[in-house]
Symmetry: C2
Subunit: 143 residues, 2 copies
DNA sequence: GGTAATATTTAACAAAGTTAACTAATTTTG
DNA sequence: CAAAATTAGTTAACTTTGTTAAATATTACC
């Protein structure tokens, strides 16, 4: 790695530690961070399937199956058997689930607010655009 | 959230999902990502204590204690009772541990390389400096 | 010198991941 | 078109790794 890459590496290390430390645990509104993330995913991908959720979070189908069961039992999400393919269950958020997502002052929102306070509007937009460029590249060319 | 904040929020969501999906599991060189991160931390903070590691990864002392035990048993790190305070054990990496860190083409390194390919030198430096500014602000003012 | 605090470990337990094996539905193919 | 293969999801058994509570050993403080 050259010097610029090394500097980026170091700051990315810090960012990664921060994200991992802040996201892996904690409970708000009676749901854990993992539960919340799943609810939010389903909220933003209405009618998605368990398979898709498993892929998005990179965990095995049985693990997702158990999480979904919990969320259904607690009336945060709902599933409906697809009429096109009856193996498939389409997921959606209940009013309770939506309420939690809408009212959740979540980790990312707090970060976004802090970030917008510490940067000028131009800097924020520049950061967003650079990150966006990078993410497109990284996410598409995954091994 | 205003429009700029919202855009940042969205891209940060993507980044967070990416980090969580890529870091939370996986095994290289016979150690899991968690083990690797602890070894690397000790590598970069020679003579640090279990307490410090626990704080850095935001997990409880018993959890770290078990991880350290595993790493010691597998000859990846070593501990030495401090002569100044015999409650404390100073941690260091063994040659095996150092080897793993040195030879690990790890997640962050791959990201850094991809990022440096998709951005110009100026853009990369700008991104690093913006992220750095943001991290200082965020990490210091944690709740 | 007795009490409080600190670093670490042990024990008991809970959450959430894994693989393997199963069901039910759909698709492929000879 | 029926048998075989594939796919989405679940159940069961197990492992890893987190937690809290309690124990140990050491140090710090009136």
């Amino acid at each position: 790695m050259n010097k610029s890459e090394q500097k980026f590496y170091d700051i990315f290390t810090e960012l990664q530690c921060f994200i991992l430390a802040n996201m892996s645990k904690g409970e708000v509104n009676g749901v854990t961070a993992t539960h919340y993330n799943i609810i939010e995913y389903i909220y933003r991908h209405d009618k998605c399937t368990g398979k898709q959720v498993a892929k998005a979070f990179n965990i095995s189908p049985p693990a997702i199956s158990r999480q979904l069961k919990f969320l259904i039992e607690n009336n945060l999400i709902a599933q409906e058997q697809s009429s096109l393919d009856r193996r498939v269950f389409n997921l959606s958020t209940t009013d309770n689930g939506k309420f939690i997502v809408d009212s959740s002052e979540n980790f990312r929102e707090r970060v976004a607010k802090k970030v917008s306070k510490s940067l000028t509007k131009n800097e924020l937009e520049s950061l967003t655009s650079l990150l966006s460029k990078v993410m497109t590249e990284i996410v598409e060319n995954q091994t």
